[in-house]
């Protein structure tokens, strides 16, 4: 008989530990109580915790030292592919032995194996565009064969890295990266189940919006407002909260409404002064929703946003070197990052093994109408969101369950 599945069901298809000397392998799925996997667009590698209830002496006999390779593969039923995460453990924590010594619970903390290579220094020099340099660092210094998905950058640069770890070196590249296509050049470097990503937030939004597909989540289970109504149960928002909302004071203070870029050329000794108005920028950037509005009214911007921002960027440069275009992007990048941080929602949904950080989803959030029963969609905050942090929460039992908690940001408001 064909099994039936419910929202939140998950199949853990593989879970094994490989000893540090690669000579021993354990498949302790029966001792695994659950695990969490974190992805974050501000974090370069993955992080996971595996929770054990060990009644077979795994901890002491295998033994689990906190240096093992950990492989876990799971799949939401109905998804075309499973997802395989490979980790390296770094700590055995929270070890609690039962009073009768018949079992022990512990947590095995893990990160991507690349994180261990990050302890070495990168004192290397590179010449080229940043989007070519980053994959080289990933391959050469993080010893990774994972793919690196990039948004191309412009500006030939000669970079001699100071004593930095590979990830710090990539972060330096991120700061120096200027996009060929996206004016904010809001580059992020992170890892998700697909590999490493070195893209702009705008690029993530553009590609994410194009591939939303069925990932339309409704807070109201009774809603029939979208064409994927047959999947509504799987796409129900279990809970949500708005953890950051537009704070105009903060935005003004941090320069989201305007900034000044000053450059000083060491060769020509020329200063330049460029004022960057966010209102001008907003017409150029990629937003999560088509036709999204700036999160302040035009009148507000006119009154408070068209002043010289005290947020200033001084960019020393020299025309003796090829232009790196950093001065053209730095103010917009800054303003964009402030915008991003001002509209964040935390959502809990049923598990979806294919969902990853950097994806765009549609959230239909209800308006508070005071009515029972069906509610209206709140137009301002409903719409497309970019997932910036994501946590797979999987509980292992006779029927394993999977939930995802994610933070998502929305660029602009719809009406």
């Amino acid at each position: 008989m064909k099994p039936t599945y419910e929202p939140g069901d998950v199949q853990v298809k593989r879970f094994d530990l490989i000893s540090p000397d690669l000579k021993a392998r354990a498949v302790p799925l029966d001792q695994l109580a659950g695990f969490d996997v974190w992805e974050d667009i501000t974090k370069p590698t993955l992080y996971a915790c595996f929770y054990f209830v060990d009644s077979v002496g795994l901890l002491d006999k295998f033994p689990v030292l906190g240096q093992e390779e950990v492989n876990v593969e799971f799949q939401t039923p109905g998804m075309p592919r499973s997802v395989l995460y490979k980790f390296k453990s770094f700590e055995v924590a929270n070890v609690i032995r039962s009073p009768n010594d018949k079992s022990v619970t512990f947590t095995l903390k893990c990160v991507s194996v690349e994180h261990f290579y990050n302890a070495a220094a990168t004192q290397q020099s590179y010449k080229g565009v940043v989007s070519d340099i980053v994959p080289q660092i990933v391959s050469k210094h993080l010893h990774s064969k994972k793919q690196v998905i990039i948004d191309p950058t412009r500006g030939l640069q000669t970079i001699t890295f100071p004593t930095l770890s590979p990830i710090q070196a990539i972060d330096m590249c991120r700061q120096r990266a200027v996009s060929v296509k996206y004016p904010t050049s809001s580059y992020v470097f992170y890892e998700n189940q697909s590999g490493f990503v070195f893209k702009t937030v705008e690029g993530l939004i553009e590609s994410g919006v194009a591939s939303i597909g069925s990932r339309v989540f409704n807070a109201d289970q009774n809603s029939t407002s979208d064409k994927y109504s047959d999947r509504l149960a799987y796409r129900t928002i279990l809970s949500y909260e708005n953890i950051a909302r537009v704070d105009v004071n903060e935005m003004l203070d941090k320069g989201a409404y305007g900034g000044v870029v000053k450059t000083f050329d060491l060769f020509t000794k020329q200063f330049t002064h460029t004022e960057q108005q966010t209102s001008d920028m907003f017409h150029k950037i990629t937003t999560t929703d088509k036709g999204a509005q700036f999160p302040s009214s035009a009148n507000f911007i006119e009154k408070f946003g068209r002043h010289n921002g005290r947020h200033q960027h001084l960019v020393p440069k020299t025309t003796l070197e090829p232009d790196n275009f950093i001065d053209s992007a730095v103010a917009m990048r800054h303003s964009f990052s402030v915008l991003l941080n001002n509209n964040t929602t935390r959502v809990l949904i049923h598990g979806d093994s294919g969902l990853k950080v950097g994806d765009v989803v549609t959230l239909n959030l209800p308006a508070a109408t005071g009515l029972t029963g069906r509610t209206e969609k709140q137009p301002l905050v409903s719409g497309n969101y970019l997932i910036t942090r994501l946590r797979h929460i999987i509980n292992i039992s006779t029927k394993s369950k999977h939930q995802i908690s994610f933070d998502a940001v929305k660029v602009g408001f719809t009406k």
Partner: protein, 257 residues
């Protein structure tokens, strides 16, 4: 630009294609070794000059003088990114200070006849010495009671002024002095000129020699005018024994052989 990120480094290249005095610096603990960061991949460091140099439209001190191997101190204009270094000074270490400044060495000048002994008697830290890589030296010596100014060319030509204002000029090669207009030389004491070779004085105009006694002593021949017989014996002028006087109106006089 964020933070003040300083460095100490060694100069590896000073042949700045822009000729601004820029240097390739390998910052200790920042740039790794030659394999990790070859010299040509190091960023060019701009150099900072003291406020005594205008560095404007050809005015000021040329930003050169540092050598490959010099140890320098500076900071990165771009903070932690460390790609825009600026050198603000050099750090002298053991064996780097010229012995002329420390009083441990005097320039060997192969002293010639009539050449006084150098007045050098420098004591540290009074002697401000600039010594170039080829060996030229300029000294402004403030050593008490032995104050000197000394400009020395590596070939041996020099000018030295001692604590009493006495000056010694020595030219190991030829000496040329060109004055486009007039020259007045006033010597309160005596003048002594010793010439081992010939002495030729060519004057387009007139020569006027005024003296209480003018004594011309040279060779076996006396004075003669152009066109005079060398030794006619007829009582005319130009006698070899010098018994006849040189008459007024003589335009050219030969003395001696």
């Amino acid at each position: 630009m964020e933070g003040f990120n300083w460095f100490i480094g060694k100069v590896e290249d000073r042949d700045d294609p822009a000729q601004l005095g820029r240097l390739k610096i390998r910052a200790f603990g920042i740039h790794g070794n030659e394999n990790e960061a070859p010299t040509d991949m190091l960023p060019w460091a701009h150099v900072m000059l003291p406020i005594t140099s205008a560095s404007l439209r050809h005015v000021g001190t040329a930003p050169v003088g540092i050598q490959v191997g010099s140890t320098v101190f500076g900071f990165f204009m771009d903070g932690n990114q460390t790609l825009l270094p600026v050198v603000i000074g050099v750090l002298p270490g053991e064996g780097d200070v010229t012995p002329l400044a420390t009083g441990q060495q005097i320039i060997n000048k192969d002293q010639q006849t009539f050449e006084p002994v150098s007045a050098y008697n420098a004591k540290y830290p009074f002697n401000k010495v600039f010594q170039s890589e080829s060996g030229h030296v300029v000294e402004l010596d403030d050593t008490p009671n032995f104050e000197r100014i000394h400009v020395y060319h590596k070939a041996g030509t020099y000018t030295e002024i001692d604590q009493d204002g006495n000056r010694v000029n020595r030219i190991v090669g030829n000496d040329y002095e060109i004055v486009d207009r007039n020259q007045t030389v006033y010597i309160k004491g005596n003048v002594k000129v010793v010439v081992d070779g010939d002495y030729e004085l060519s004057v387009t105009g007139n020569i006027k020699i005024n003296g209480k006694t003018i004594n011309l002593n040279s060779g076996t021949m006396g004075a003669a005018r152009i066109g005079d017989a060398a030794d006619s014996g007829d009582g005319g002028s130009g006698h070899a024994d010098g018994s006849n006087k040189i008459e007024a109106g003589s335009s050219t006089v030969f003395i001696g052989d």
